[in-house]
């Protein structure tokens, strides 16, 4: 009798372990950060791309409207993919597009914009990548939708047609 209980216990134990590990196999092992929480925008000071002047974050995000901060670089291939969406978004008057040029040579960046068009209302430069870290970014491209000095939405990687529609919905 005792052995039987023990056997059942062992079988149940191994089945549970098998089930848990099998489930775990299907999980993605790529870390996806929590993007739901609304965080305050960080304070930073950086150079304006087209001039050598410094500007602080308070001066940029002062108005009561939507801002989309897009981190980009001319050497970044997925940035080319999302460029059409950015150009489309730049037509909308409710939204101000701010580019953050990440670890880029300024001639290359200017050439990139001449080639594909310039969707940005305003471009900042981030030569050493530290401003992106202030935002908690992982790399390029990455976009932050900001309203009322809070990050409302965060898109890691290029803007896709799905996230583009979501953005449009939020702005409207």
């Amino acid at each position: 009798m005792k052995i039987k209980i023990f056997l059942v216990f062992i079988i149940v134990f191994f089945l549970t372990v098998f089930f848990v590990l099998y489930k775990g196999l299907q999980n993605s092992n790529i870390y996806t950060p929590d993007t739901s929480q609304k965080k305050d925008i960080p304070f930073f000071k950086t150079k304006i791309f087209y001039s050598e002047k410094m500007i602080s974050s308070e001066e940029i995000f002062k108005n009561d409207k939507f801002y989309l901060l897009n981190i980009w670089a001319s050497w970044c291939v997925p940035c080319r993919d999302e460029h059409a969406f950015l150009l489309n978004l730049s037509d909308s008057s409710d939204l101000e597009l701010i580019g953050l040029n990440y670890k880029d040579k300024s001639e290359n960046a200017k050439k990139f914009l001449r080639e594909l068009g310039d969707p940005y209302d305003f471009i900042l430069s981030d030569k050493d990548g530290t401003i992106s870290i202030e935002w908690g970014a992982y790399g390029v491209p990455e976009s932050f939708l900001i309203y009322n000095k809070k990050v409302v939405k965060k898109i890691i990687g290029p803007i896709t047609s799905k996230s583009f529609l979501e953005l449009k919905k939020v702005i409207k």
Binding site: P33, E134, W135, Y138, G139
Partner: protein, 121 residues
């Protein structure tokens, strides 16, 4: 006389090296305890990705500004969450993680105690 002055210069240079090595040690210790979030299974110290290079630069900058280790960890934790630390802190999200090994040790010990010691008596 000349020999002594040479000796003094050599000692001076060596001491310079030692002081900068100390700074590097702390920087290495911190970057080894930060996870490179876009790599798999690498610390910031090990990785040469753009993300890791920026983080190394920022750690050095913050050390130069005179921040201590804990302040730097807190800064990155605020930006990227607990996951960036290889040595997670003890809080309500991680107490299971920290207590599980102790719990298993105690339960295992209790089983061994029951089987071997009690049976003997």
């Amino acid at each position: 006389m000349k020999k002594i002055s040479y000796l003094i210069i050599i000692i001076f240079i060596l001491s310079l090296n030692l002081s900068s090595a100390k700074d590097d040690d702390l920087q290495n210790k911190i970057t080894k305890n930060l996870r490179c979030l876009i790599c798999q299974g690498q610390s910031i110290y090990d990785s040469d990705s753009d993300f890791a290079i920026s983080l190394k630069f920022l750690v050095k900058k913050k050390l130069d500004e005179g921040q201590n280790e804990q302040q730097i960890y807190d800064y990155f934790k605020d930006k990227y969450g607990d996951w960036i630390l290889y040595d997670p802190e003890f809080n309500k999200n991680t107490y299971f993680l920290w207590l599980l090994p102790i719990l298993m040790f105690l339960i295992g010990g209790a089983i061994i105690f029951k089987i071997f010691i009690l049976r003997k008596n």
